[in-house]
Symmetry: C2
Subunit: 184 residues, 2 copies
């Protein structure tokens, strides 16, 4: 289930630091990788920063296409997220291997992953020095979507299966926990 998110609210999809799935496509090739090192970079126009290692197949597809999507997975597909992190797309279609289905993005060729709860379609900003020196990609968010069951401009998690994930290490995630409203 997915509905468009206004671009000026797109940063909120990533603001709480969830793990992401980076999808990419070029020609007939496509891939998906897990990335925890992603964050908002600006509000308007919305921008993001993400670290994509030189050795990855995703890196080749992103450099060739100039595009990628950040998909924000929910707990319901946690096992697939972990599996994505353990495979290389060079060994065959990782979506099929990890039993991930996709739907078409609006403004880019990279597919979006079902079972996620938010999606950011991104076009990379041409900053070659940062890409080469730090594996750091800056990109503008050109479209955003979220599952209306959990995001209506703000996140509201009720069903555990739809909670977002925060990756730690060794195959373990923390799910996004209880809301904590404090008196300012």
């Amino acid at each position: 289930m997915h509905r468009s998110v206004e671009l000026e609210k797109a940063y909120r999809l990533l603001n709480h630091g969830p793990v992401t799935l980076v999808t990419s496509a070029h020609g007939t090739a496509r891939n998906v990788m897990a990335a925890s090192w992603a964050m908002p970079l600006d509000f308007d126009p919305p921008k993001v920063a993400v670290v994509i290692d030189k050795t990855t197949w995703t890196r080749a597809l992103i450099e060739a296409s100039g595009e990628f999507a950040l998909n924000i997975p929910a707990r319901q597909i946690a096992a697939a997220v972990l599996e994505v992190g353990n495979r290389s797309g060079r060994d065959g279609d990782k979506f099929a291997a990890c039993q991930l289905t996709t739907f078409a993005a609006e403004k880019i060729a990279a597919p979006l992953v079902e079972g996620c709860v938010a999606w950011l379609e991104c076009k990379i900003i041409d900053e070659v020095h940062q890409q080469q020196s730090y594996d750091l990609f800056l990109a503008e968010v050109v479209a955003a979507h979220a599952d209306p069951r959990v995001f209506d401009g703000h996140w509201h998690f009720a069903d555990d299966a739809l909670r977002t994930l925060h990756y730690v290490a060794g195959g373990a995630f923390f799910q996004t926990g209880a809301e904590c409203v404090v008196q300012g």
Copy 2:
């Protein structure tokens, strides 16, 4: 309570995307600001990336000193974190105004905030173009510490008061939730 963390494990303190308090100092001036847009950038040597707006007093102190610390607050000081985000250090000492106490860092002049559960001492990497164009600071982590009650090389949250926080918007945080171990 704080104990040194080996530098090769320092990324784990930030990997799950918690909100941070950025502390800085130059001469007799010091400041603290809240920042959600921080992430690991590399493992060894550990590096981080953080967005620091041009208009902030913290920015001036970081540019003058070349240093900052990322302090990772726990729920026990959530109200102070929010208060930090609502004030400017130009209006007077924000630590006192927010009732935050500090202790000395090991390798930098910026103070570290009590009530946090992890601390990353950072020296900025000289990348002026990124700082000017994107407010993006890259830095090397030169020392790291964590509260041994919650981090022993991995995070273990038991006491809610010591859980880390993920900032969303409008004065609300999510606390880091239940661990979710999946079969790969």
